[in-house]
């Protein structure tokens, strides 16, 4: 057993050629927490996600999930272990309708076996009905129910991000990685999304890791917050702690005052 956290990352490295995108990051995500991950552009947050989620192979280091070594497992295996993620740049299935985008997610569908598609049609029909209802529910929650039959390639940038989030809501996950779900999403809707995350966390015990540059959003949801910079973990703590950290301010937050005094000048 490695640590007690839901996810434990030990001295992880990911190098692209000579460039060290993740450079010896170690962190632990507690079971049932909503952890915020912040850091300047290029800090290596997304790369860290990708390594954990199996999209990229680490150069070195290990990743554990609930004590099990998951380093290098392919994404589809991780999905079945309950690890879900969204993409910073939306990866919709562009020629499929939004509803289908959601309905394809659950992994235990009888209809995904060829044999059943030929000879087990009744069972599939039942399952499909349930899936469809579920998908419609999610779409409604995301306020895009009117897009159910639109091709996902032809919806707006923000709507794609919503769909991205919606996919993680189709199945029971144990841990969900959200990569900037908020970027480009309307702030009012973002609040609703925040509520949903809290609810999933409370009611179903999902663990969340959230990358976001919107401090309000982070502040509302996350404890603890981890700040990365140059591929390493820079600081960890509650948001107020982090906000007070000199290094974090310098690398990431800035004083936020600069443009204030220029307005109207």
């Amino acid at each position: 057993m490695q640590g007690t956290g839901m996810i434990v990352v030990q001295d992880l490295h990911k190098h692209f050629g000579g460039f060290r995108a993740v450079d010896g990051a170690s962190l632990e995500i507690a079971q049932g927490s909503i952890t915020g991950l912040i850091g300047p552009n290029g800090a290596g947050k997304t790369t860290l996600f990708n390594v954990i989620a199996g999209v990229l192979k680490p150069t070195s280091g290990r990743v554990f999930m609930a004590g099990e070594d998951i380093t290098g497992l392919p994404p589809h295996d991780l999905f079945h272990k309950g690890l879900l993620r969204t993409f910073q740049i939306a990866h919709e299935f562009s020629s499929m309708s939004c509803r289908e985008n959601l309905m394809m997610v659950p992994g235990d569908q009888a209809g995904e076996t060829l044999w059943n598609t030929w000879f087990g049609r009744k069972r599939i029909a039942d399952q499909e009905r349930a899936l469809r209802a579920k998908a419609d529910e999610v779409l409604e929650f995301l306020t895009i129910e009117h897009l159910a039959d639109h091709k996902a390639g032809q919806i707006s940038g923000g709507q794609k991000k919503l769909l991205e989030l919606g996919r993680t809501m189709m199945v029971d996950a144990r841990i969900v990685f959200l990569d900037e779900v908020g970027a480009g999403v309307n702030r009012t809707l973002l609040n609703t999304i925040g509520d949903a995350i809290l609810r999933l966390n409370k009611e179903r015990g999902y663990t969340f890791v959230v990358i976001e540059h919107d401090m309000d959003f982070i502040g509302r949801l996350c404890d603890p917050v981890i700040c990365m910079a140059e591929g390493k973990v820079l600081a960890q703590g509650t948001l107020p702690e982090i906000k007070a950290n000199e290094q974090v301010i310098e690398a990431y937050l800035g004083t936020g005052l600069k443009n204030k005094d220029k307005i109207g000048a």
């Binding site: 392919p74 589809h76 993409f87 299935f93 499929m96 394809m104 995904e112 598609t117 030929w118 499909e128």
Partner: protein, 438 residues
């Protein structure tokens, strides 16, 4: 226009063209077109499965078709007396040895830690293995090939040549193709689009090279002729008084009746195969499985993140699609009654099938089938069209003028020209294919 109506009309048009051929040329011609059309449609179905639904760019169709043809030989051809005792067992043992060798190498690679020692051991095993393999294999080949090379010189088949049993070759052809596709898929499916394309193209060429040069297998370029057919023999029918009488009842002479009868029987068998495959494909595609495949086609990375084992699914559909091509290939060889490795050319067996899929409308099974019939019809019928065109152009010219002679002489080359024209016209008016994906 309502799409169902439009599609029905398209099919009706192609049907009408074939009927027209029947009325104006002959029903035999029409049926030949129908039969090859059915086979083409099946091939197109297989390719459509891979491309239209999974986005796999396979241009190795020719290879799978040829493997199907090989099955027809190995099932149907008469056994060569003495071939097995002369060298068959040698060859078989060579294959078994090769298989064992592969297993050994793989397990050695697993067991030993990476590094120089492993590389050396593996390399040594491979080299030694290769020589032992050749030592087993070569004498066998030589022995078999020297058995009456002008007429046989090959290992021969199982000699299954009774009636419908002959069609056993078809599923076996599918199996052959599937097995090859599995091996290819295991190695090459990680490649992207055009790189996968050239890889499959290359593998197809390799398969053909083997078929052409391994005479012990199916006589290589010397061809195997006189393969058994699932239908009665025309000559037998013509000599059968009962048949002649019945034909006379319909008012047709025995020769025509017998040729039509045989072709109709083929058409029937082929139609059964096509319909079964179509139903299976349709069911699969309008189900969560099909949805999953489309998701994978649209965005692999996301599908993978959503728990779909992209590699396994790709392999599955690659094997299935290739198997279908193999079945079609076996059917074609049975129809021809001979295996002619030299005829397997990419243009005819790979790119023409692609044209069928794209013109018909990729991603739609009915489109693929329509494309199969239409393009095959054109492939065969543009030649008279080209000639007709040339005659039309030259009709105003004085007889004996050099230009006229040149034009008429070039008429044969107008076949491909006309084909190209028609292709461009069709794609101009429905750029996404005649029956596009919804």
């Amino acid at each position: 226009m309502n799409p169902v109506l439009k599609n029905t009309m398209l099919f009706a048009i192609v049907g009408a063209m074939i009927l027209y051929t029947g009325f104006t040329q002959s029903w035999n011609t029409a049926l030949v077109i129908v039969n090859m059309g059915l086979i083409s449609a099946i091939m197109a179905l297989g390719v459509n499965l891979q491309w239209g639904f999974a986005g796999l760019f396979n241009v190795g169709i020719m290879g799978f078709v040829a493997l199907g043809g090989l099955a027809a030989v190995l099932i149907g051809a008469p056994p060569t007396p003495g071939a097995w005792s002369a060298g068959g067992w040698n060859i078989l043992s060579a294959f078994v040895f090769a298989l064992v060798m592969v297993v050994v190498v793989v397990s050695v690679r697993r067991r030993m830690a990476a590094g120089w020692p492993r590389k050396i051991v593996v390399l040594a095993l491979l080299i030694v293995g290769f020589f032992i393999y050749r030592a087993l294999f070569d004498p066998g080949v030589e022995a078999i090939e020297s058995i009456n090379p002008a007429a046989t010189g090959n290992i021969g088949g199982l000699g299954i040549d009774r009636g419908l049993w002959v069609t056993l070759a078809w599923p076996v052809g599918g199996l052959f193709a599937a097995a090859a596709a599995w091996v290819i898929g295991k190695t090459a499916l990680g490649l992207r689009s055009d790189y996968l394309a050239i890889a499959t193209l290359g593998i197809a060429e390799i398969i053909i090279a083997v078929l052409k040069n391994e005479d012990w297998l199916a006589r290589g370029v010397k061809n195997v002729v006189g393969l058994p057919r699932p239908t009665p023999n025309e000559i037998d029918l013509q000599n059968d008084p009962a048949f002649v009488e019945r034909a006379a009842g319909f008012g047709v002479d025995a020769v025509t009746a017998s040729t039509l009868y045989v072709k109709l029987m083929y058409a029937g068998l082929f139609t059964v195969v096509l319909v079964v495959l179509l139903v299976l494909a349709q069911r699969a595609l309008h189900s969560p499985w099909g949805r999953m495949m489309r998701a994978i086609r649209d965005n692999e990375v996301a599908a993978e993140a959503m728990g779909k084992d992209v590699t396994a699914r790709h392999l599955q559909i690659f094997v299935l699609g290739s198997a279908i091509c193999g079945i079609a290939g076996a059917m074609m060889t049975t129809l021809d009654g001979q295996l002619t490795p030299g005829t397997y050319q990419p243009l005819r067996f790979t790119f023409l099938v692609w044209v069928m899929v794209i013109v018909g409308g990729s991603g739609n099974n009915f489109g693929a089938i329509l494309g199969g019939f239409l393009i095959w019809f054109l492939w065969v019928q543009v030649e008279p069209m080209g000639l007709w065109l040339m005659e039309l152009i030259t009709s105003g010219m004085p007889d004996g003028s050099a230009l006229k002679a040149h034009l008429i002489d070039s008429a044969a080359h107008m076949r491909l020209f006309t084909m190209g024209m028609v292709l461009l016209l069709v794609l101009r008016f429905s750029p996404r294919g005649l029956i596009p994906e919804k």
